[in-house]
Symmetry: C2
Subunit: 323 residues, 2 copies
Protein backbone atom coordinates (compact mmCIF):
# COMPACT_ATOMS: atom_id res chain seq x y z
CA UNK A 1 0.00 0.00 0.00
CA UNK A 2 1.20 3.55 -0.61
CA UNK A 3 2.34 5.46 2.47
CA UNK A 4 2.65 9.16 3.23
CA UNK A 5 5.96 9.95 4.86
CA UNK A 6 7.00 13.31 6.22
CA UNK A 7 10.47 14.78 5.98
CA UNK A 8 10.80 15.89 9.59
CA UNK A 9 13.28 18.61 8.64
CA UNK A 10 11.30 20.39 5.89
CA UNK A 11 7.80 19.20 6.82
CA UNK A 12 7.27 18.04 3.21
CA UNK A 13 5.12 14.98 2.64
CA UNK A 14 6.02 12.36 0.05
CA UNK A 15 4.08 9.32 -1.08
CA UNK A 16 6.13 6.13 -1.05
CA UNK A 17 4.25 3.96 -3.55
CA UNK A 18 6.53 1.04 -4.44
CA UNK A 19 3.64 -0.84 -6.08
CA UNK A 20 3.86 1.74 -8.87
CA UNK A 21 7.30 0.41 -9.86
CA UNK A 22 8.63 -3.09 -9.81
CA UNK A 23 11.80 -3.98 -7.96
CA UNK A 24 14.97 -1.91 -7.47
CA UNK A 25 16.53 -4.17 -10.13
CA UNK A 26 14.12 -2.74 -12.68
CA UNK A 27 15.95 0.58 -12.58
CA UNK A 28 19.16 -0.85 -14.00
CA UNK A 29 20.08 1.46 -16.89
CA UNK A 30 20.95 0.42 -20.41
CA UNK A 31 24.64 0.12 -21.18
CA UNK A 32 26.24 3.20 -22.66
CA UNK A 33 29.87 3.70 -23.51
CA UNK A 34 31.84 6.55 -22.07
CA UNK A 35 32.93 8.72 -24.94
CA UNK A 36 36.56 9.49 -25.57
CA UNK A 37 37.91 12.97 -25.15
CA UNK A 38 36.29 14.98 -27.87
CA UNK A 39 38.42 17.26 -29.94
CA UNK A 40 35.85 19.99 -29.55
CA UNK A 41 35.08 19.45 -25.84
CA UNK A 42 34.96 23.03 -24.50
CA UNK A 43 36.26 22.02 -21.07
CA UNK A 44 39.32 19.99 -22.11
CA UNK A 45 42.44 21.94 -21.21
CA UNK A 46 44.28 21.57 -24.50
CA UNK A 47 41.30 23.08 -26.29
CA UNK A 48 41.80 26.09 -24.16
CA UNK A 49 38.79 28.29 -24.72
CA UNK A 50 37.21 27.73 -21.29
CA UNK A 51 40.54 27.17 -19.58
CA UNK A 52 41.70 30.64 -20.59
CA UNK A 53 38.87 32.20 -18.57
CA UNK A 54 39.80 30.38 -15.33
CA UNK A 55 39.41 32.27 -12.07
CA UNK A 56 40.86 29.57 -9.80
CA UNK A 57 42.99 26.50 -10.34
CA UNK A 58 44.77 23.73 -8.52
CA UNK A 59 46.55 20.72 -9.94
CA UNK A 60 43.61 18.71 -11.31
CA UNK A 61 40.74 21.18 -11.11
CA UNK A 62 39.99 24.64 -12.48
CA UNK A 63 37.11 27.07 -12.07
CA UNK A 64 35.57 29.36 -14.69
CA UNK A 65 32.63 31.76 -14.67
CA UNK A 66 29.61 30.18 -16.39
CA UNK A 67 29.45 31.53 -19.93
CA UNK A 68 25.68 32.04 -19.62
CA UNK A 69 25.25 32.84 -15.95
CA UNK A 70 21.93 32.71 -14.10
CA UNK A 71 23.45 34.96 -11.42
CA UNK A 72 25.82 37.82 -12.14
CA UNK A 73 28.17 39.82 -9.94
CA UNK A 74 27.70 43.16 -11.69
CA UNK A 75 25.21 45.80 -10.72
CA UNK A 76 22.96 44.67 -13.53
CA UNK A 77 20.18 46.55 -15.21
CA UNK A 78 16.85 44.79 -14.82
CA UNK A 79 13.33 45.21 -16.05
CA UNK A 80 10.95 46.52 -13.45
CA UNK A 81 7.51 45.07 -13.86
CA UNK A 82 5.16 47.09 -11.65
CA UNK A 83 3.01 46.04 -8.70
CA UNK A 84 1.84 42.68 -10.04
CA UNK A 85 5.23 41.83 -11.46
CA UNK A 86 8.02 42.04 -8.88
CA UNK A 87 11.49 41.83 -10.38
CA UNK A 88 15.03 42.18 -9.19
CA UNK A 89 18.51 41.86 -10.60
CA UNK A 90 19.75 38.29 -10.45
CA UNK A 91 22.80 39.10 -8.35
CA UNK A 92 25.39 36.53 -7.37
CA UNK A 93 27.85 34.20 -9.02
CA UNK A 94 27.55 31.24 -11.33
CA UNK A 95 30.74 29.23 -11.66
CA UNK A 96 31.80 25.95 -13.22
CA UNK A 97 34.27 23.69 -11.39
CA UNK A 98 35.99 21.48 -13.95
CA UNK A 99 38.01 18.31 -13.47
CA UNK A 100 40.86 18.58 -15.94
CA UNK A 101 40.72 14.91 -16.90
CA UNK A 102 37.76 14.39 -19.28
CA UNK A 103 37.76 10.65 -18.70
CA UNK A 104 37.38 10.47 -14.93
CA UNK A 105 34.04 9.83 -13.25
CA UNK A 106 33.27 10.49 -9.63
CA UNK A 107 33.36 6.76 -9.04
CA UNK A 108 37.03 6.56 -9.94
CA UNK A 109 38.47 9.84 -8.66
CA UNK A 110 41.69 9.40 -6.72
CA UNK A 111 41.87 10.44 -3.05
CA UNK A 112 43.87 13.49 -3.97
CA UNK A 113 41.52 14.69 -6.66
CA UNK A 114 38.54 14.34 -4.31
CA UNK A 115 40.46 16.42 -1.81
CA UNK A 116 41.20 19.08 -4.43
CA UNK A 117 37.61 19.17 -5.69
CA UNK A 118 36.11 19.50 -2.21
CA UNK A 119 38.76 22.02 -1.22
CA UNK A 120 38.00 24.22 -4.20
CA UNK A 121 34.27 24.07 -3.36
CA UNK A 122 35.16 25.36 0.10
CA UNK A 123 37.31 28.18 -1.26
CA UNK A 124 34.63 29.34 -3.72
CA UNK A 125 31.94 29.31 -1.02
CA UNK A 126 34.15 31.44 1.20
CA UNK A 127 34.73 33.84 -1.67
CA UNK A 128 30.99 34.08 -2.43
CA UNK A 129 29.97 34.65 1.16
CA UNK A 130 32.45 37.50 1.43
CA UNK A 131 30.05 39.42 -0.82
CA UNK A 132 27.28 40.80 1.41
CA UNK A 133 24.76 40.52 -1.47
CA UNK A 134 25.06 36.72 -1.41
CA UNK A 135 22.42 35.02 0.74
CA UNK A 136 23.21 31.48 -0.32
CA UNK A 137 25.73 29.57 -2.40
CA UNK A 138 24.87 26.12 -3.73
CA UNK A 139 27.46 23.57 -4.83
CA UNK A 140 25.89 21.12 -7.25
CA UNK A 141 26.86 18.54 -9.81
CA UNK A 142 24.85 17.21 -12.77
CA UNK A 143 25.87 13.88 -14.28
CA UNK A 144 24.19 12.77 -17.49
CA UNK A 145 21.61 14.25 -19.81
CA UNK A 146 18.55 13.33 -17.71
CA UNK A 147 20.16 15.20 -14.82
CA UNK A 148 20.49 18.37 -16.87
CA UNK A 149 24.16 18.03 -17.85
CA UNK A 150 24.62 19.52 -21.31
CA UNK A 151 28.39 18.93 -21.46
CA UNK A 152 29.78 15.45 -20.83
CA UNK A 153 33.13 16.59 -19.44
CA UNK A 154 32.86 16.13 -15.64
CA UNK A 155 32.10 19.43 -13.92
CA UNK A 156 30.25 20.85 -10.95
CA UNK A 157 28.56 24.23 -10.67
CA UNK A 158 28.33 26.72 -7.84
CA UNK A 159 25.46 29.18 -7.89
CA UNK A 160 25.48 32.03 -5.40
CA UNK A 161 22.16 33.84 -5.09
CA UNK A 162 20.83 36.99 -3.45
CA UNK A 163 17.59 35.27 -2.36
CA UNK A 164 17.41 32.32 0.03
CA UNK A 165 16.42 29.13 -1.85
CA UNK A 166 12.99 27.81 -0.80
CA UNK A 167 14.21 24.32 0.04
CA UNK A 168 17.08 25.55 2.21
CA UNK A 169 14.77 28.03 3.95
CA UNK A 170 12.49 25.13 4.92
CA UNK A 171 15.44 23.11 6.25
CA UNK A 172 16.64 26.07 8.29
CA UNK A 173 13.19 26.72 9.74
CA UNK A 174 12.49 23.07 10.53
CA UNK A 175 15.85 22.43 12.17
CA UNK A 176 15.57 25.65 14.19
CA UNK A 177 12.11 24.65 15.47
CA UNK A 178 13.37 21.19 16.40
CA UNK A 179 16.32 22.71 18.25
CA UNK A 180 14.04 25.04 20.21
CA UNK A 181 11.83 22.14 21.27
CA UNK A 182 14.51 19.54 21.96
CA UNK A 183 17.77 21.46 22.48
CA UNK A 184 19.31 19.03 20.02
CA UNK A 185 20.29 19.13 16.34
CA UNK A 186 17.74 17.21 14.29
CA UNK A 187 20.43 16.00 11.90
CA UNK A 188 22.53 14.65 14.82
CA UNK A 189 19.43 12.77 16.00
CA UNK A 190 18.90 11.39 12.50
CA UNK A 191 22.52 10.25 12.22
CA UNK A 192 22.22 8.43 15.55
CA UNK A 193 18.90 6.82 14.59
CA UNK A 194 20.02 5.70 11.13
CA UNK A 195 23.25 4.23 12.53
CA UNK A 196 21.19 2.50 15.20
CA UNK A 197 18.47 0.71 13.25
CA UNK A 198 20.50 0.53 10.01
CA UNK A 199 17.34 0.03 7.91
CA UNK A 200 18.42 2.58 5.30
CA UNK A 201 22.15 2.64 6.05
CA UNK A 202 24.41 2.19 3.04
CA UNK A 203 27.95 3.06 4.10
CA UNK A 204 29.82 4.73 6.93
CA UNK A 205 33.38 5.65 7.78
CA UNK A 206 34.99 7.53 10.68
CA UNK A 207 33.51 10.88 9.71
CA UNK A 208 30.46 10.24 7.52
CA UNK A 209 27.29 8.20 7.21
CA UNK A 210 25.34 7.58 3.98
CA UNK A 211 21.75 6.36 3.99
CA UNK A 212 18.69 6.37 1.76
CA UNK A 213 16.41 9.20 2.85
CA UNK A 214 13.32 8.11 4.80
CA UNK A 215 11.04 10.58 2.99
CA UNK A 216 12.92 10.34 -0.31
CA UNK A 217 11.57 12.46 -3.18
CA UNK A 218 13.33 10.27 -5.76
CA UNK A 219 14.19 6.56 -6.08
CA UNK A 220 17.59 5.84 -4.50
CA UNK A 221 17.87 9.35 -3.01
CA UNK A 222 20.89 9.27 -0.68
CA UNK A 223 21.89 11.65 2.09
CA UNK A 224 25.47 11.91 3.28
CA UNK A 225 25.87 13.48 6.71
CA UNK A 226 28.97 14.22 8.77
CA UNK A 227 28.82 12.38 12.10
CA UNK A 228 30.25 15.42 13.89
CA UNK A 229 27.92 18.38 14.31
CA UNK A 230 29.10 21.16 12.03
CA UNK A 231 26.91 23.66 10.21
CA UNK A 232 29.43 24.89 7.66
CA UNK A 233 30.89 22.65 4.97
CA UNK A 234 33.60 25.23 4.27
CA UNK A 235 35.11 24.41 7.67
CA UNK A 236 35.76 20.70 7.24
CA UNK A 237 39.38 19.59 7.54
CA UNK A 238 41.60 17.79 5.06
CA UNK A 239 41.07 14.45 6.79
CA UNK A 240 37.32 15.00 6.63
CA UNK A 241 37.56 15.88 2.94
CA UNK A 242 39.44 12.63 2.38
CA UNK A 243 36.77 10.66 4.22
CA UNK A 244 34.00 12.46 2.35
CA UNK A 245 35.69 11.56 -0.93
CA UNK A 246 36.04 7.98 0.29
CA UNK A 247 32.35 7.53 1.07
CA UNK A 248 31.21 9.38 -2.09
CA UNK A 249 33.49 7.17 -4.18
CA UNK A 250 31.90 4.08 -2.63
CA UNK A 251 28.39 5.45 -3.25
CA UNK A 252 29.04 6.28 -6.91
CA UNK A 253 30.71 2.89 -7.44
CA UNK A 254 27.67 1.18 -5.88
CA UNK A 255 25.27 3.19 -8.07
CA UNK A 256 27.36 2.35 -11.10
CA UNK A 257 27.69 -1.35 -10.39
CA UNK A 258 24.10 -1.83 -9.20
CA UNK A 259 22.13 0.44 -11.54
CA UNK A 260 24.73 0.88 -14.26
CA UNK A 261 25.85 4.50 -14.28
CA UNK A 262 22.56 6.28 -13.67
CA UNK A 263 22.29 10.00 -14.35
CA UNK A 264 22.33 11.90 -11.05
CA UNK A 265 22.57 15.24 -9.32
CA UNK A 266 24.22 15.98 -6.03
CA UNK A 267 24.21 19.17 -4.04
CA UNK A 268 25.60 20.44 -0.75
CA UNK A 269 23.39 22.14 1.81
CA UNK A 270 25.46 24.20 4.19
CA UNK A 271 24.59 26.95 6.68
CA UNK A 272 24.39 30.42 5.14
CA UNK A 273 26.28 32.94 7.24
CA UNK A 274 23.63 35.67 7.19
CA UNK A 275 20.69 33.81 8.82
CA UNK A 276 21.09 34.52 12.51
CA UNK A 277 23.36 31.86 13.91
CA UNK A 278 22.42 28.48 12.46
CA UNK A 279 25.60 26.85 13.79
CA UNK A 280 23.78 25.31 16.78
CA UNK A 281 20.84 23.80 14.95
CA UNK A 282 21.90 23.32 11.32
CA UNK A 283 24.15 20.51 10.11
CA UNK A 284 25.62 20.62 6.65
CA UNK A 285 25.04 17.61 4.40
CA UNK A 286 25.15 16.39 0.82
CA UNK A 287 22.19 14.91 -1.08
CA UNK A 288 22.51 12.60 -4.08
CA UNK A 289 19.53 12.21 -6.42
CA UNK A 290 19.70 9.57 -9.17
CA UNK A 291 17.40 10.57 -12.04
CA UNK A 292 15.62 7.35 -12.89
CA UNK A 293 12.03 8.55 -13.24
CA UNK A 294 10.38 11.56 -14.88
CA UNK A 295 8.50 14.16 -12.92
CA UNK A 296 4.88 14.37 -14.05
CA UNK A 297 1.85 16.60 -13.62
CA UNK A 298 1.41 15.56 -10.00
CA UNK A 299 4.87 16.80 -8.99
CA UNK A 300 4.64 20.03 -11.03
CA UNK A 301 1.07 20.74 -9.95
CA UNK A 302 1.59 20.13 -6.23
CA UNK A 303 5.37 20.57 -5.62
CA UNK A 304 5.06 17.25 -3.77
CA UNK A 305 6.53 13.91 -4.81
CA UNK A 306 5.57 10.31 -5.38
CA UNK A 307 8.55 7.97 -5.00
CA UNK A 308 8.09 4.51 -6.50
CA UNK A 309 10.96 2.77 -4.71
CA UNK A 310 10.99 1.92 -1.03
CA UNK A 311 14.04 3.64 0.55
CA UNK A 312 14.65 0.55 2.70
CA UNK A 313 14.71 -1.73 -0.35
CA UNK A 314 16.89 0.76 -2.24
CA UNK A 315 19.45 0.73 0.60
CA UNK A 316 19.39 -3.06 0.83
CA UNK A 317 19.90 -3.31 -2.93
CA UNK A 318 22.77 -0.81 -3.01
CA UNK A 319 24.74 -2.48 -0.25
CA UNK A 320 24.10 -6.06 -1.38
CA UNK A 321 27.11 -8.01 -2.68
CA UNK A 322 27.75 -7.75 -6.43
CA UNK A 323 25.97 -10.57 -8.30
CA UNK B 1 21.14 39.74 -18.36
CA UNK B 2 19.35 37.25 -16.10
CA UNK B 3 16.46 38.64 -14.05
CA UNK B 4 14.83 37.50 -10.85
CA UNK B 5 11.05 37.55 -11.14
CA UNK B 6 8.61 36.85 -8.36
CA UNK B 7 5.36 34.97 -8.74
CA UNK B 8 3.15 37.42 -6.85
CA UNK B 9 0.71 34.65 -5.95
CA UNK B 10 3.08 32.09 -4.44
CA UNK B 11 5.97 34.41 -3.58
CA UNK B 12 8.36 32.08 -5.42
CA UNK B 13 11.33 33.61 -7.23
CA UNK B 14 12.47 32.37 -10.63
CA UNK B 15 15.48 33.37 -12.66
CA UNK B 16 14.63 34.28 -16.25
CA UNK B 17 17.94 33.71 -18.01
CA UNK B 18 17.25 33.67 -21.75
CA UNK B 19 20.97 33.98 -22.55
CA UNK B 20 21.30 30.39 -21.35
CA UNK B 21 19.18 29.18 -24.28
CA UNK B 22 19.03 30.45 -27.82
CA UNK B 23 15.76 31.51 -29.42
CA UNK B 24 12.28 30.04 -28.92
CA UNK B 25 12.76 28.41 -32.32
CA UNK B 26 15.54 26.30 -30.84
CA UNK B 27 12.99 24.35 -28.84
CA UNK B 28 11.30 22.88 -31.90
CA UNK B 29 11.15 19.12 -31.26
CA UNK B 30 12.27 16.39 -33.63
CA UNK B 31 9.58 14.84 -35.76
CA UNK B 32 8.00 11.72 -34.35
CA UNK B 33 5.18 9.71 -35.81
CA UNK B 34 2.05 9.05 -33.85
CA UNK B 35 1.78 5.33 -33.39
CA UNK B 36 -1.23 3.40 -34.56
CA UNK B 37 -3.58 1.82 -32.09
CA UNK B 38 -1.60 -0.95 -30.51
CA UNK B 39 -3.15 -4.36 -30.18
CA UNK B 40 -1.91 -4.55 -26.63
CA UNK B 41 -2.75 -0.97 -25.58
CA UNK B 42 -4.26 -1.45 -22.11
CA UNK B 43 -6.59 1.54 -22.47
CA UNK B 44 -8.16 0.73 -25.86
CA UNK B 45 -11.75 -0.30 -25.31
CA UNK B 46 -11.74 -3.41 -27.48
CA UNK B 47 -8.85 -4.78 -25.44
CA UNK B 48 -11.08 -4.49 -22.46
CA UNK B 49 -8.86 -5.11 -19.45
CA UNK B 50 -8.91 -1.53 -18.15
CA UNK B 51 -12.35 -0.80 -19.56
CA UNK B 52 -13.86 -3.58 -17.46
CA UNK B 53 -12.82 -1.79 -14.26
CA UNK B 54 -14.53 1.50 -15.22
CA UNK B 55 -16.19 3.50 -12.46
CA UNK B 56 -17.67 6.22 -14.68
CA UNK B 57 -18.36 6.57 -18.38
CA UNK B 58 -19.91 8.86 -20.94
CA UNK B 59 -19.91 8.54 -24.68
CA UNK B 60 -16.23 9.16 -25.50
CA UNK B 61 -14.58 9.00 -22.09
CA UNK B 62 -14.31 6.49 -19.27
CA UNK B 63 -12.74 6.53 -15.81
CA UNK B 64 -10.93 3.73 -14.02
CA UNK B 65 -9.13 3.49 -10.69
CA UNK B 66 -5.35 3.62 -11.20
CA UNK B 67 -4.02 0.07 -11.08
CA UNK B 68 -1.10 1.17 -8.89
CA UNK B 69 -2.60 4.03 -6.89
CA UNK B 70 -0.57 6.57 -4.96
CA UNK B 71 -3.70 7.37 -2.91
CA UNK B 72 -6.22 4.78 -1.79
CA UNK B 73 -9.76 5.03 -0.47
CA UNK B 74 -9.53 2.17 2.00
CA UNK B 75 -8.61 2.51 5.62
CA UNK B 76 -5.13 1.30 4.82
CA UNK B 77 -2.56 -0.21 7.13
CA UNK B 78 0.60 1.86 7.25
CA UNK B 79 4.02 1.64 8.78
CA UNK B 80 4.53 3.92 11.74
CA UNK B 81 8.03 5.23 11.91
CA UNK B 82 8.48 6.82 15.34
CA UNK B 83 9.27 10.39 16.32
CA UNK B 84 11.82 11.16 13.62
CA UNK B 85 9.82 9.39 10.95
CA UNK B 86 6.24 10.67 10.69
CA UNK B 87 4.02 8.50 8.51
CA UNK B 88 0.39 8.34 7.59
CA UNK B 89 -1.84 6.31 5.34
CA UNK B 90 -1.94 7.71 1.84
CA UNK B 91 -5.71 8.23 1.81
CA UNK B 92 -7.59 9.51 -1.20
CA UNK B 93 -8.28 8.48 -4.76
CA UNK B 94 -6.15 7.98 -7.82
CA UNK B 95 -8.14 7.71 -11.03
CA UNK B 96 -7.42 7.61 -14.74
CA UNK B 97 -9.68 9.48 -17.18
CA UNK B 98 -9.37 7.84 -20.59
CA UNK B 99 -10.41 9.12 -24.01
CA UNK B 100 -11.80 6.11 -25.82
CA UNK B 101 -10.20 7.04 -29.14
CA UNK B 102 -6.50 6.12 -28.99
CA UNK B 103 -5.69 8.33 -31.95
CA UNK B 104 -6.97 11.70 -30.77
CA UNK B 105 -4.71 14.34 -29.31
CA UNK B 106 -5.86 17.31 -27.29
CA UNK B 107 -5.12 19.50 -30.28
CA UNK B 108 -7.79 17.78 -32.36
CA UNK B 109 -10.53 16.93 -29.83
CA UNK B 110 -13.99 17.84 -31.05
CA UNK B 111 -16.08 20.39 -29.13
CA UNK B 112 -18.23 17.64 -27.73
CA UNK B 113 -15.38 15.50 -26.51
CA UNK B 114 -13.79 18.51 -24.76
CA UNK B 115 -17.13 19.10 -23.09
CA UNK B 116 -17.34 15.48 -21.99
CA UNK B 117 -13.76 15.38 -20.71
CA UNK B 118 -14.12 18.59 -18.69
CA UNK B 119 -17.54 17.51 -17.45
CA UNK B 120 -16.19 14.20 -16.18
CA UNK B 121 -13.35 16.04 -14.39
CA UNK B 122 -16.02 18.11 -12.63
CA UNK B 123 -18.04 15.06 -11.62
CA UNK B 124 -15.01 13.22 -10.23
CA UNK B 125 -13.90 16.27 -8.23
CA UNK B 126 -17.38 16.53 -6.72
CA UNK B 127 -17.27 12.85 -5.85
CA UNK B 128 -13.83 13.17 -4.22
CA UNK B 129 -14.72 16.22 -2.18
CA UNK B 130 -17.78 14.42 -0.81
CA UNK B 131 -15.28 12.33 1.17
CA UNK B 132 -14.31 14.38 4.26
CA UNK B 133 -10.82 12.80 4.26
CA UNK B 134 -10.02 14.53 0.95
CA UNK B 135 -8.24 17.86 1.35
CA UNK B 136 -7.44 18.38 -2.29
CA UNK B 137 -8.09 16.79 -5.68
CA UNK B 138 -5.79 17.49 -8.60
CA UNK B 139 -6.78 17.00 -12.23
CA UNK B 140 -3.67 16.54 -14.34
CA UNK B 141 -2.62 15.29 -17.75
CA UNK B 142 0.78 13.98 -18.88
CA UNK B 143 1.54 13.96 -22.60
CA UNK B 144 4.72 12.24 -23.77
CA UNK B 145 7.50 10.35 -22.08
CA UNK B 146 9.43 13.40 -20.86
CA UNK B 147 6.25 14.53 -19.11
CA UNK B 148 5.97 11.25 -17.21
CA UNK B 149 3.39 9.53 -19.45
CA UNK B 150 4.11 5.81 -19.46
CA UNK B 151 1.15 4.89 -21.68
CA UNK B 152 0.68 6.62 -25.04
CA UNK B 153 -3.12 6.31 -25.14
CA UNK B 154 -4.45 9.79 -24.23
CA UNK B 155 -5.50 9.93 -20.59
CA UNK B 156 -5.65 12.30 -17.65
CA UNK B 157 -5.31 11.46 -13.97
CA UNK B 158 -7.08 12.76 -10.90
CA UNK B 159 -5.31 12.43 -7.56
CA UNK B 160 -7.26 13.20 -4.42
CA UNK B 161 -5.09 13.58 -1.32
CA UNK B 162 -5.58 13.91 2.42
CA UNK B 163 -2.83 16.53 2.74
CA UNK B 164 -2.91 19.93 1.08
CA UNK B 165 -0.31 20.12 -1.73
CA UNK B 166 2.51 22.58 -0.99
CA UNK B 167 2.10 24.54 -4.22
CA UNK B 168 -1.66 24.99 -3.79
CA UNK B 169 -1.18 25.95 -0.13
CA UNK B 170 1.15 28.75 -1.26
CA UNK B 171 -1.36 29.96 -3.86
CA UNK B 172 -4.15 29.99 -1.28
CA UNK B 173 -2.04 31.88 1.25
CA UNK B 174 -0.76 34.42 -1.27
CA UNK B 175 -4.15 35.15 -2.79
CA UNK B 176 -5.74 35.44 0.66
CA UNK B 177 -3.09 37.96 1.75
CA UNK B 178 -3.58 39.99 -1.41
CA UNK B 179 -7.34 39.99 -0.90
CA UNK B 180 -6.95 41.22 2.68
CA UNK B 181 -4.72 44.07 1.56
CA UNK B 182 -6.55 45.08 -1.61
CA UNK B 183 -10.11 43.71 -1.31
CA UNK B 184 -9.62 42.30 -4.78
CA UNK B 185 -8.85 38.90 -6.25
CA UNK B 186 -5.22 38.79 -7.36
CA UNK B 187 -6.10 36.57 -10.31
CA UNK B 188 -8.79 39.04 -11.47
CA UNK B 189 -6.17 41.78 -11.31
CA UNK B 190 -3.75 39.62 -13.33
CA UNK B 191 -6.38 38.87 -15.98
CA UNK B 192 -7.07 42.59 -16.35
CA UNK B 193 -3.38 43.48 -16.52
CA UNK B 194 -2.47 40.75 -19.03
CA UNK B 195 -5.40 41.69 -21.27
CA UNK B 196 -4.34 45.31 -20.98
CA UNK B 197 -0.65 45.27 -21.89
CA UNK B 198 -0.88 42.04 -23.94
CA UNK B 199 2.87 41.40 -23.60
CA UNK B 200 2.38 37.75 -22.74
CA UNK B 201 -1.12 37.27 -24.11
CA UNK B 202 -1.59 34.30 -26.43
CA UNK B 203 -5.33 33.79 -26.94
CA UNK B 204 -8.64 34.87 -25.50
CA UNK B 205 -12.30 34.13 -26.04
CA UNK B 206 -15.51 35.24 -24.28
CA UNK B 207 -14.76 33.31 -21.10
CA UNK B 208 -11.01 32.65 -20.97
CA UNK B 209 -7.61 34.23 -21.38
CA UNK B 210 -4.34 32.36 -22.02
CA UNK B 211 -0.94 33.95 -21.44
CA UNK B 212 2.64 32.95 -20.77
CA UNK B 213 3.28 33.21 -17.04
CA UNK B 214 5.36 36.24 -15.97
CA UNK B 215 7.39 34.23 -13.45
CA UNK B 216 7.32 31.02 -15.50
CA UNK B 217 9.15 28.04 -14.00
CA UNK B 218 9.43 26.38 -17.42
CA UNK B 219 9.90 27.57 -21.03
CA UNK B 220 6.51 28.25 -22.66
CA UNK B 221 4.60 27.82 -19.37
CA UNK B 222 1.04 28.94 -20.06
CA UNK B 223 -1.72 29.89 -17.64
CA UNK B 224 -5.37 29.74 -18.65
CA UNK B 225 -7.68 31.81 -16.45
CA UNK B 226 -11.43 32.31 -16.57
CA UNK B 227 -12.27 35.99 -17.03
CA UNK B 228 -15.13 35.68 -14.56
CA UNK B 229 -14.20 35.36 -10.90
CA UNK B 230 -14.98 31.82 -9.79
CA UNK B 231 -13.02 29.76 -7.28
CA UNK B 232 -14.38 26.34 -8.14
CA UNK B 233 -13.78 24.69 -11.51
CA UNK B 234 -16.51 22.13 -10.76
CA UNK B 235 -19.07 24.93 -11.06
CA UNK B 236 -18.37 26.08 -14.61
CA UNK B 237 -21.27 25.80 -17.05
CA UNK B 238 -21.54 23.91 -20.30
CA UNK B 239 -20.91 27.05 -22.36
CA UNK B 240 -17.81 27.74 -20.27
CA UNK B 241 -16.62 24.17 -20.78
CA UNK B 242 -17.03 24.65 -24.52
CA UNK B 243 -15.02 27.87 -24.42
CA UNK B 244 -12.35 26.26 -22.26
CA UNK B 245 -12.08 23.43 -24.78
CA UNK B 246 -11.91 25.99 -27.57
CA UNK B 247 -8.99 27.92 -26.07
CA UNK B 248 -7.14 24.75 -24.98
CA UNK B 249 -7.52 23.35 -28.48
CA UNK B 250 -5.99 26.52 -29.91
CA UNK B 251 -3.11 26.38 -27.40
CA UNK B 252 -2.28 22.74 -28.12
CA UNK B 253 -2.49 23.36 -31.86
CA UNK B 254 -0.11 26.33 -31.48
CA UNK B 255 2.33 24.25 -29.39
CA UNK B 256 2.14 21.49 -31.97
CA UNK B 257 2.59 23.70 -35.00
CA UNK B 258 5.26 25.95 -33.45
CA UNK B 259 7.33 23.51 -31.38
CA UNK B 260 6.20 20.27 -33.02
CA UNK B 261 4.23 18.27 -30.48
CA UNK B 262 6.25 18.91 -27.33
CA UNK B 263 5.70 16.70 -24.29
CA UNK B 264 3.67 18.60 -21.69
CA UNK B 265 1.74 18.45 -18.47
CA UNK B 266 -1.33 20.40 -17.55
CA UNK B 267 -3.13 20.61 -14.24
CA UNK B 268 -6.11 22.40 -12.78
CA UNK B 269 -5.85 24.41 -9.58
CA UNK B 270 -9.27 24.87 -8.03
CA UNK B 271 -10.41 25.94 -4.56
CA UNK B 272 -10.54 23.12 -2.04
CA UNK B 273 -13.82 23.18 -0.10
CA UNK B 274 -12.31 22.65 3.34
CA UNK B 275 -10.02 25.70 3.58
CA UNK B 276 -12.21 28.35 5.17
CA UNK B 277 -14.00 30.10 2.35
CA UNK B 278 -11.60 30.72 -0.54
CA UNK B 279 -14.41 31.68 -2.92
CA UNK B 280 -13.75 35.42 -2.46
CA UNK B 281 -10.02 35.41 -2.99
CA UNK B 282 -9.17 32.29 -5.00
CA UNK B 283 -9.74 31.94 -8.73
CA UNK B 284 -9.47 28.54 -10.36
CA UNK B 285 -7.13 28.19 -13.33
CA UNK B 286 -5.27 25.71 -15.50
CA UNK B 287 -1.49 25.63 -16.01
CA UNK B 288 0.23 24.08 -19.03
CA UNK B 289 3.91 23.15 -18.76
CA UNK B 290 5.74 21.99 -21.90
CA UNK B 291 8.67 19.77 -20.91
CA UNK B 292 11.48 21.06 -23.09
CA UNK B 293 14.33 21.22 -20.60
CA UNK B 294 15.61 18.93 -17.85
CA UNK B 295 15.61 19.93 -14.21
CA UNK B 296 19.12 19.92 -12.78
CA UNK B 297 20.85 20.12 -9.44
CA UNK B 298 19.92 23.77 -9.00
CA UNK B 299 16.19 23.06 -9.16
CA UNK B 300 16.37 19.93 -6.98
CA UNK B 301 18.72 21.53 -4.47
CA UNK B 302 16.80 24.80 -4.07
CA UNK B 303 13.18 24.02 -5.18
CA UNK B 304 13.57 27.20 -7.26
CA UNK B 305 13.73 27.44 -11.04
CA UNK B 306 15.84 28.89 -13.83
CA UNK B 307 13.81 29.43 -17.00
CA UNK B 308 15.85 29.88 -20.16
CA UNK B 309 13.11 31.37 -22.35
CA UNK B 310 11.69 34.86 -21.94
CA UNK B 311 7.91 34.52 -21.37
CA UNK B 312 7.32 37.57 -23.57
CA UNK B 313 9.28 36.02 -26.46
CA UNK B 314 7.55 32.67 -25.92
CA UNK B 315 4.12 34.35 -26.20
CA UNK B 316 5.15 36.29 -29.30
CA UNK B 317 6.46 33.11 -30.90
CA UNK B 318 3.34 31.07 -30.10
CA UNK B 319 0.93 33.61 -31.53
CA UNK B 320 2.99 34.46 -34.58
CA UNK B 321 1.57 33.42 -37.96
CA UNK B 322 2.65 29.98 -39.20
CA UNK B 323 5.77 30.20 -41.36
Amino acid sequence: MPNLRQNIITGDWVVIAPERAKRPEDFVQEKTLKKDVLKDCPFCVPNGSAYKTRIAEIEDVYVIPNQFPAFVPEDAVYEQGGALYPAFKSLGYHEVVILKDHKVDLENLSKNVWDELLYIYQKRLQFHYANPAVEYSLVMHNHGENAGASIEHPHSQILATSVMPSYVAKELLGSKDYFKKNQRCIFCDLVKAELGHQERLIFENDDFVAFCAYAARFPFEIWVLPKKHLSDFAQISKSERLNLGEILGRIFRALNSKINDPDYNFFIHTAPPRQGNPSDYYHWHLEIVPRLTKLGGFELGTSDFIDVVSPEKAAFFLKSKPH
